[in-house]
């Protein structure tokens, strides 16, 4: 990276930023230089530290070490107002808009123009139209925000920060909620802003889009800056980027005999789910899992994995066909599906897998209220449930003084172990597991993997979603990669290379191998 000595105005410069939280280092020695009037992308995997960095830049968090300079002057932020004062505006991933208000009301809230005590609607409207025209945002100030589509709402958020005089915009995962043509509209708008001298910082993990719009890219991995690339002076391929993000080593899978049988336990065809804005969360997914087979789903979080799991479990409405052990469950509810022998380890355990205010032995029954040992007919059998809860605690090494302890009192790792123990009881035929060893210590993780493998040998079919590549490669018999709700690639864990997996996961390569 040869830097010619010319006077470059840096809109933002972060030097040596460190941020620690109890138990984890979020940012270590981050160095970032953003040129004025450019689009600077910050890429990295989930958990790499991007959000924390942006919160520091926006004044919502304070760095432990390091300096922030804006337009050449070093500055300290104590709150977002300080950042707003120097012209930094943040467009959050989750929009902060009041649906029942008009665009105008949303934009001016908190900074209302006044005329003799009342709100000067005319002045507000004029200013909004002016900004909208200047920057090509094309927004009607009197439209009701609730009537606007996602792309328009995002532009309202951008308008909000521009209205307050922002010259440096931070966009947090802006394309996460957009469909392709909305992404094009957004990029058009961003180019318009750039032409007027606005600096844009763009957080994303979608490499193909980043390459399209950014002038410079900073890659963050595990909390630290790994590389800074200037796209004007360098040629960067998506593969290279992916490798930088994901790292060049992948764990090698354990060699073991295949236990995959011919019997199809789960068959999914044409599964599609749409969100309330009309966007497809998963579209037309089809696959089969056999007894004794673990199918791993690889992909960056937010590409449809959760929706796939919910559609299979019946907690999310979807079109298409789901057949479990020969029974068409497409029209059946969650309870009937689970009664067929489906075990479920959801990714958000406190919301979906536990009753936090109930004791462990009652949590033993959750999800299996209609089955032995929890119930016989309409009656619960607490004694048997308690016995079984005790068994789970000892077999799965759950650290708790008794089965009467509230679930909320256990540590996250122990909660997860208990949940896994519960779900693996009762000889399920299908396990749907979403990030099953998240938050679990390494020793317990290995033990859980052993359990899963043992069950697999006995014929359990497993749908495994995971962001942990160790887990995915080590456990799966086959891997499918999901991107934006569609399967884009199949991979054989024994032979896949890191680049191939990284590319497919991040969309660097659009077409997939069949």
């Amino acid at each position: 990276m040869v830097a010619a000595r010319r006077k470059i105005l840096l809109a933002v410069q972060l030097q040596g930023i460190w941020k620690r939280f109890p138990g984890v280092i979020a940012n270590s020695d981050i160095n970032l230089k953003v040129e004025s009037g450019t689009v600077h992308a910050i890429v990295g995997e989930n958990g790499a530290g991007k959000s924390t960095l942006m919160k520091i830049l926006y004044g919502m968090q304070k760095a432990d070490e390091g300096t922030i300079s804006v337009n050449g002057t070093e500055i300290v932020f104590n709150s977002p107002s300080d950042a707003i004062d120097v012209g930094i505006g943040m467009v959050h991933q989750h929009f902060m808009l009041a649906d029942n208000f008009t665009v105008l009301e949303n934009v001016v809230l908190g900074s209302e123009p006044r005329k003799a005590g009342s709100l000067d609607f005319t002045a507000a409207r004029n200013k909004i139209v002016e900004i909208s025209t200047n920057y090509g945002l094309d927004i009607d100030p009197d439209a009701l925000v609730g009537d606007l589509g996602v792309g328009d709402r995002q532009r309202v958020e951008i308008l909000k920060v521009l209205y307050r005089g922002a010259r440096i915009l931070i966009l947090d995962e802006p394309t996460a909620v957009l469909v392709p043509h909305e992404v094009d509209e957004l990029f058009e708008a961003l180019n318009g802003l750039k032409a007027e001298g606005i600096t844009i910082m763009f957080i994303s993990h979608k490499l193909d889009e980043v390459l399209e719009i950014a002038d410079e890219i900073t890659v963050i991995r595990r909390g630290t800056t790994v590389a800074t690339l200037n796209l004007k002076t360098q040629q960067v391929t998506a593969e290279e980027l992916a490798e930088l993000m994901v790292g060049s080593e992948l764990p090698t899978p354990e060699t073991r005999g295949s236990t995959v049988t011919d019997k199809v336990i789960l068959s999914v065809s044409g599964l599609t789910a749409t969100n309330k804005d009309g966007k497809d969360e998963i579209s037309d997914l089809s696959f089969e899992i056999h007894a004794g087979e673990i199918l791993g789903i690889a992909g960056v979080e937010g590409n449809g994995q959760s929706e796939l799991v919910e559609a299979i479990m019946g907690t999310k409405a979807a079109t298409g066909k789901v057949v479990i052990n020969g029974v068409d469950v497409s029209e059946l509810g969650t309870r009937k599906r689970r009664e067929l022998g489906v075990a479920y380890i959801p990714e958000d355990r406190s919301r979906l897998a536990l009753l936090l205010d109930a004791p462990l032995w009652e949590n033993r029954m959750l999800g299996h209220q209609t089955q032995i040992p929890n119930a016989k007919g309409f009656r619960l059998t607490p004694k048997l449930a308690r016995e079984d809860a005790k068994r789970i605690i000892s077999e799965f090494d759950v650290r708790t003084p008794s089965v009467d302890v509230l679930a909320s009192a256990l540590s996250g790792g122990n909660q997860q172990k208990f949940i896994i123990g519960r779900e693996m009881s009762g000889e399920p035929i299908l396990l749907v597991a979403s990030h099953p060893t998240r938050g679990v210590d390494v020793g317990a993780q290995a033990a859980i993997w052993d359990e899963l493998r043992a069950a697999r040998e006995k014929g359990l079919a497993v749908l495994l979603i995971s962001a942990d590549l160790d887990e995915l490669i080590g456990m799966s018999d086959s891997i499918k990669v999901i991107l934006r709700g569609k399967f884009v690639a199949d991979a054989d864990p024994a032979t896949v290379t890191p680049q191939e997996l990284g590319n497919a996961m991040t969309g660097a390569v659009k077409a997939g191998k069949q």
């Binding site: 989750h94 902060m96 649906d99 029942n100 009301e105 809230l109 908190g110 209302e112 709100l119 609607f121």
Partner: protein, 413 residues
């Protein structure tokens, strides 16, 4: 009337809308009056009484509006209204009606402050806190009434000595001629005559004050920065917070204002309507006020209309010895429902259309077969109306988006 509604839908101008509604209401009332042969439907006495009954309900509804626009559901309005009646009675009989008003405001403020503290600062469930307020308000008023009024002349354990009334005025020169015009029974003209003579007959200054409060609310909440911020707190408090709005402050303001308004409603009952504090005089109007707020789609104009309708029905049924006028109102209601059913048909909402149509037909046939409406059934009209609105018009209703959701700063969604 259907034609009128259709015109209403297609015009955006507020002035034209208002005009159209007024005309269509007058026309329909006139038709019903003629068909059912009930002169009292729009007489001066009825209209005047209707106004008087509408004011406390409307004030309670307005109070509910202020709280819910700030995101807090206040079902303790009844308790705050009771505190208002007591404050008006206690200070009113001693120092005159104006001080009585201040007394009501003070007591309402105190009650609202307790409610606000519990729900906003401590995050207690708003429904539970509201229910507790109703119990407390009643108990407090009962207790102190017994202590202070029991041995006073003109008073008793459940009643205060009489309070000097507030000034009222009547448009004397017009009043009687208008009554004659009304009695002559011309289509539409009589109705207008009835209305005008009724409004300006013994018009209490509190009614004028109440009307002023409605107009002020409309202006403050929709045309000032203060109002925008307060409403934003009820729509999306996190968004408001991210833009520097002090969410807790505005919630407090909304709740305290709601207490004051409910108490003013109580003051009206004590000072203008009966002239004394009397136990039980609120009669559930705090809850009816909530109903008018919902009926009015959380807007001051709609709430006023709702209060007017409920007040009108109340007045009619009080003055209607043999149930004939109320029967006419049933016809009126049936016609309204019929028009709405046609609307639903155009909007392709068949389930709604079917339901409304059936009810409308049932009501019309009932009207044709009977000669009077049992007064007990008449009493429940406002509640039934609210239920119908809730059940069939929920798409049209736009409560503040974050209404009833407790707010903790920093807690993300």
């Amino acid at each position: 009337m259907t034609a009128a509604l259709m015109v209403w839908r297609s015009t955006a101008s507020k002035k034209v809308k208002f005009f159209v509604i007024a005309i269509s209401i007058l026309a329909t009332l006139s038709l019903v009056r003629i068909w059912a042969d009930v002169l009292d439907l729009t007489s001066r006495g009825t209209i005047s009484a209707a106004l008087g009954l509408a004011v406390p309900i409307g004030l309670a509804g307005l109070g509910g509006l202020w709280a819910e626009r700030a995101g807090v559901v206040n079902i303790g309005l009844e308790g705050m209204m009771i505190l208002g009646t007591f404050g008006a009675g206690w200070l009113g009989y001693q120092y005159g009606p104006w001080v009585g008003l201040l007394g009501a405001i003070g007591f309402g403020l105190a009650g609202a402050a307790i409610f606000a503290l519990a729900t906003i600062t401590f995050g207690v469930d708003q429904i539970i806190a509201g229910t507790a307020m109703n119990i407390l308000g009643l108990g407090f008023a009962q207790f102190f009434a017994k202590i202070t009024f029991a041995n006073l002349p003109g008073g008793g354990p459940t009643q205060s000595p009489s309070i000097e009334p507030l000034p009222t005025f009547t448009l004397d020169s017009l009043s009687d001629p208008l009554v004659d015009i009304h009695r002559d029974g011309y289509f539409m003209i009589s109705e207008i005559a009835g209305f005008i003579s009724g409004v300006f007959f013994r018009l209490s200054i509190l009614t004028v004050l109440a009307a002023g409060l409605f107009i002020a609310t409309s202006y403050i909440l929709w045309r000032t920065p203060f109002g925008l911020r307060l409403r934003s707190v009820g729509e999306n408090p996190h968004a408001a917070d991210s833009l520097g709005v002090n969410v807790y402050l505005y919630k407090y303001i909304g709740v305290l204002t709601s207490g004051v308004l409910a108490a003013l409603g109580g003051a009206f009952l004590a000072i203008a309507a009966s002239g004394v504090y009397r136990e039980g005089q609120t009669g559930g109007r705090g809850f009816i006020g909530l109903a008018t707020m919902i009926f009015g789609n959380w807007r001051p104009g709609g709430t006023a209309m709702g209060a007017a309708v409920f007040g009108y029905i109340d007045a009619l049924q009080l003055r209607d010895a043999n149930g004939t006028a109320m029967r006419a109102v049933v016809l009126l209601g049936a016609l309204v429902l019929f028009a709405l059913a046609i609307f639903a048909l155009r909007a392709k909402r068949y389930q709604t259309m079917f339901a409304l149509g059936v009810i409308s037909a049932a009501l019309i046939s009932w009207f044709l077969v009977t000669t009077q409406l049992p007064r007990e059934v008449a009493l429940v009209a406002p509640y039934l109306a609210t239920l119908l609105v809730l059940a069939f018009a929920s798409q049209r209703l736009r409560p503040p988006a974050a209404d009833g959701i407790p707010y903790r700063k920093g807690e993300s969604k």
